[in-house]
Each structure stands twice: as C-alpha cells, then as structure tokens.
Amino acid sequence: MSAPDPATVFVIDDDGDVRASIQRLLKTVGLRGEAFASAQDFLRRNMPKGPSCLILDIRLPGMSGLEVQRKLIDAGLSIPIIFISAHADVDVAVRAMKFGAVEFLTKPFRPQELVDAVQQALQRDEGIQREQRDISELQQRYKTLTPREREVMALFASGLPTKQIASRLGVSEVTAAVHRGHVMQKMQAGSPAELGRMAEKLNLASAK
C-alpha cells in the first residue's frame, strides 16, 4: 500500500486578517492550508488527490459563498464545506446546511470549533474518496468478466439459486456453478454475500 496522500484545507475569505489567522491555526494543528481571497482564484485550482475540505466565507466579493457551494455541487465535486460568516443569518445557514455543509460558524468563532469541524470534514471526504476508489476498483474487475459471466453475476446478485440460474440460462447446473466460480474469483469476492454487496455497489440492476 502506498503512503496516503496528505490532506488539504482550503480557505476562501476576502479578509486578510481572518485568512492569515486561519492559515496559522491550521499550521499549528499540523494541517496543510491553502488560502484564497476570492472564489474565482480557488475554482481555477485543480482538486488535490488526497482528502480536502473548504472553509468558506459567506460574504465574498463577486461570488457569494452560497453560490460557490452551488457551483461545486453542479460540477459534481463533493468537497465538504465549513461556512464562516460575520452575520448570524438563520436563512442563509439553513440553506447552506440543506445543501450538505458540514458546519456553519459565525465570526468570531471558537478556534477549537473550527478545528473540530475541519477534522470532521476531512474524515467525511476521506470516506467519500475511499468509496469512490472502491467503486472504480470494482469497475476494473467487472470489465474482465465475459458477457455470460456478467449475466450470471446479475442473476446471482438478485438472489437466485444456482439451479434456477442454470435453467434461466439454459445450461446445466454444473456449468452455472463453474461460471459462478469464475465470477467470484475475478471479482475477488470471498463469499457469495460479498459478491452481492459488490453488485449493489456497481448498481447492477437485478435482472428478474
């Protein structure tokens, strides 16, 4: 196994003091921070390989924090967001949370709260990334299956016993069992139950 990619915490706030203080805070707790004065600067950057999260000010010049959140969602980027705002505006906070924000902190926030929220956000992103890695790995394995084996996997995933799979495919029970063995091997499934979970992750519509 390769060494895990380092985590990155992005900060977008147009206030220089706030930006610098959060950078220093991240450094103090051993996190890598990258700060931007505007959303446009941030959006030009490529997303890193490792887990990341975004500390986002609500009131920004040009594009508001809520708009940035919207844009990221539309682009299919799942980076977790922690909002910070000098206005304790309930409506804005509700909207931000509804669209999946990790936390909404009002300035001046307690630094510990921000650190906690960052840890939580990074964990969430790690989980998401792991999940995405798993799925792409399974997709690679699935590609190695023959068309017939894919059929067997779909039927198997829908819970049919070997006997019925054989009759559905018009082959002998032995042949069906052989196919199943190949599928299990190629997909690296330790048990029929694991193969079922894999089919679920791959979103194989159960062919009934």
């Binding site: 206030d15 003091d17 220093r24 103090t28 206005h87 001046p108 630094p111």
Partner: protein
C-alpha cells in the same frame, strides 16, 4: 296683416267680442309693412252690448319678449354656472323660516325632485348627517335668525341612497329698514371632491411621515449591521490568534518565533477594530464639503407637519416659538434635519402615553449662538443617567436603537455646536442644541 296661423284665433276673438261685448287679451302676431313679424297683445270691447262700435288695440310686445328672452338666457347661464361649480342657491322667508326659493342645482345637490316643489324645513334637515345636524341647526338659528349676521358652515349630507356629500354653506340675512329679518339668501357648494383630495393629501403626508421614520430607523439599522460585520472580522482573527498563542504555550517546547507572530497578529487585529470604530465616528464629520446656509426655523417648520401623524394619536400638541431674528447657520441640511427630527420624535415618544405639549423655541443667545430648545412634558430623563443618554446603544425605549441621540450629538458637534439635556423642574425634559451663526465664520 294677420299671419295665417293666427287668423282663426283672431276670428274666434272677434266672434267672442260680438257675442259678449268683450274678450280677454291674448298674444298674437302681426305683420309689419316690411314683412317681419311683431309680437302683440290684442284685446277688444264693444262700447255697448249688442252695438257695433267698439275699440280694439294691439300692444307691441317686442320689448317685453326680448326681455323675457334675455331673462330666460341669463337663467340658463346661471343654472349652467351652478351645475359647473356644484353651487346651489336658496332663499327662505324671514318670518316663517320656510324656503322661498331653491335653484335647480340646490335640488340636485340635496337629491330632491323639483317637481315635488320646495321641501319643508324638516325634510331638508333630515338630509343632514346626524353628527352635523345640531351644528347646522345652531348656526342657522343663532347666526341667521338671532344675530342676523352672515354664516359660513361646513357639514355633510346623506342622500336616501346613502351617498355622503360634503357641503360648504354660506348664508346672508336680508334686513328691512327697521332691522327686521326679511329673508335669508344663501348658497351651498358641494365640496365632496375637494374633501376627497384633501384626505388624499393627508394620507400622502402620513406616508411621508412614515417614510421619514422608517428611513431614520433603517439608516441606523444598516449602519449598525455593517459596523457589526466589519468589526467582527478583526475580532475573529484576534480570537483565533489568541487561541493559537495559548496552544503554543501549552506545548512542551516553546516556539518563541511562532508565539511572537501570533501575538503580533492579535495586536494588529485589535488596532484594526479600533480604527473601524474611529472611522464610524468620523463619518458624520465627513459632510463638510456639503455645507450650505441653513435657516433652522425653516427646518423646524418643514419637519413639524411631518410629525403631526406621530403626535396626533398621542394627543401631543406641538407649539413653535421661533424668533424671526436668528441668523442662518452653515451646515449639512439633511444632517441638521435629522437632528431636529430625532429630538422632536424623542419628545413625542416621551409623551406618548400621557399626551402633552412640545414647545420648540429658537433664539439667539447673548454671545451670538443660535439656540434651539425642545421642551416636553413627558417622562423626563432617566434618574442618575442624564449623561448616559447620549452614549451609543443606550436606550430607555424597548424599540430604541440607542443611536438617535448619539448620532444627533455627533452631528451637532461636527457643526461646531453642542447638544445637551436638562430635566424640567416639574415634568419632562428640555433638549438644547446650539450652533455658531454663519456670520461669525466670515467675521
């Protein structure tokens, strides 16, 4: 000589004369030599009954006819004028007090049918709005019949279909040689439209007052919000850096350089917060380039009607006691209006529950300053807190922002003046503000 259409009538008259010896005069027409017609009154009689001698005459009616025509015209013109101006006229008998004459428009305004003849006095009184009836009756009987002087009254009438009209009535008694009342003549004008326009104007004025109030409140609200937003940035940064410093101190190995940086950042942010506050304070001094000559009497007179809407429901009377000899001051007109408005609104609010009187006085002091004082009979100043009322965010009112007096004072001070308050010996408080006259700048 006799036109064809009149011949039969003439022959009948002749027959009547022959038969009875006389005939009632009748109107007819005759031809002149030049062929034009002339209106005439014709009559005739025999000298003795059964005889055949008699006399007949034809009286030239041309003049009379012309006069009649002219009268009819002027009557029409008068009626038209009355219709156009919604004015009715009337006359009533000095003794019986019953109507002698009602013009067409009079019938129209009061909704009576001219075919039914003149309405009786009681019928007419019934048309008057119940709330105004006594007033009209008193005016009529007292001024017209007892004092025998002109009367001028406004009242409402209610027509049978429920329509309410506003009426302005004028009456003039006509007296005989011995001062006896012969008749009363008068006019009524339907001023309903005028009244509605007046009401619309009142509503507009009320709106203006509302707007002025909202404006005052929202300007301060916005200012407070933006101040809060601005100031939270450095406070947030300072808090973060202070926490970092604490964490750095808790570590086993002191990171002196990092500590120094974090603490310097705290100081820098705190200084910035202080600068923001200073900046807000100097905002009100910024208007120096907009200075114009301002007549404070005029400012007070302009604002007073705007506050009627605030003062009226609280039964607060506003009295202006303005000296015409005060010099103008040099300043920002809008800001000075705001000061006057703030102080007047404060006074009205102080009397909201009790009612009372607000007296606004302007004068020039012995040392030449323009002094405006606003004295109310309200709740007075909070005990032992007289000095605190000018502090920002100090308020005794549940809805107060606590900024009104603070802003007013900073405006007055930026104009080189002073603003202060004193409790009145009996009730209420007096707020004073003093500004240097414009002349002194030139001197």
């Amino acid at each position: 000589m006799i036109p064809a259409e009149w011949r039969e009538r003439t022959e009948r008259a002749l027959a009547k004369v022959m038969q009875t010896g006389t005939v009632q005069p009748f109107e007819s027409e005759l031809f002149r030599k030049d062929g034009t017609r002339v209106p005439v009154l014709v009559a005739g009689a025999l000298f003795e009954e059964g005889g055949n001698e008699g006399v007949a005459f034809a009286l030239d009616l041309s003049e009379q006819k012309r006069a009649e025509e002219a009268l009819r015209h002027s009557k029409n013109y008068l009626a038209e004028a009355q219709r156009l101006t919604h004015t009715g006229s009337w006359a009533l008998d000095g003794t019986t007090r019953e109507a002698r004459y009602w013009s067409e428009e009079m019938f129209q305004i009061f909704g009576f049918d001219p075919q039914q003849g003149l309405p009786e006095r009681d019928q007419w009184l019934q048309r008057i709005h119940p709330e105004d009836r006594d007033k009209v009756r008193r005016q009529a009987s007292n001024r017209m019949f007892v004092q025998k002087v002109d009367s001028d009254v406004e009242y409402r009438i209610v027509l049978p279909d429920g329509t309410v009209k506003h009426i302005h009535g004028l009456a003039h008694p006509v007296l005989g040689p011995n001062e006896e009342l012969i008749e009363v003549v008068g006019t009524v004008v339907d001023i309903t439209e005028h009244k509605h326009a007046e009401e619309a104007r009142d509503r507009l004025r009320q709106l203006e007052a509302d707007l002025a109030h909202i404006n005052r409140v929202s300007t301060m609200g916005e200012m407070a919000a933006s101040l809060a937003h601005e100031i939270k940035q450095p406070i947030s940064a300072a808090t973060t850096n202070a926490q970092i410093s604490l964490w750095l101190l808790e570590r086993d190995q002191l990171a002196i350089q990092e500590l120094r940086e974090a603490i310097s950042a705290v100081m820098q942010s705190v200084k910035r917060a202080a600068d923001i506050i200073d900046h807000v304070r100097t905002l009100s001094k910024k208007g120096t380039q907009d200075r114009v000559l301002v007549d404070l009497n005029q400012v007070i007179r302009e604002i007073e009607p705007l506050l009627e809407y605030e003062s009226r429901p609280s039964s607060v009377a506003i009295r202006l006691n303005l000296s015409e000899h005060i010099p103008q001051v040099s300043g920002d007109r809008v800001q000075l209006q705001q000061v006057v408005m703030n102080l007047m609104l404060n006074a009205i609010e102080a009397m909201k529950d009790s009612g009372g009187e607000l007296v606004v006085t302007s004068e020039q002091t012995d040392n030449g300053q323009v002094l405006i004082s606003l004295s109310d009979t309200g709740v007075g100043l909070p005990d032992n807190k007289e000095d605190r009322i000018f502090e920002a965010f100090f308020s005794t009112k549940p809805q107060g922002t606590g900024m009104g007096l603070a802003i007013s004072r900073s405006i007055v001070e930026s104009h080189g003046g002073r603003l202060w308050a004193k409790g009145n010996p009996e009730r209420g408080a007096t707020f004073y503000f003093e500004l240097p006259p414009h002349e002194s700048e030139a001197a």
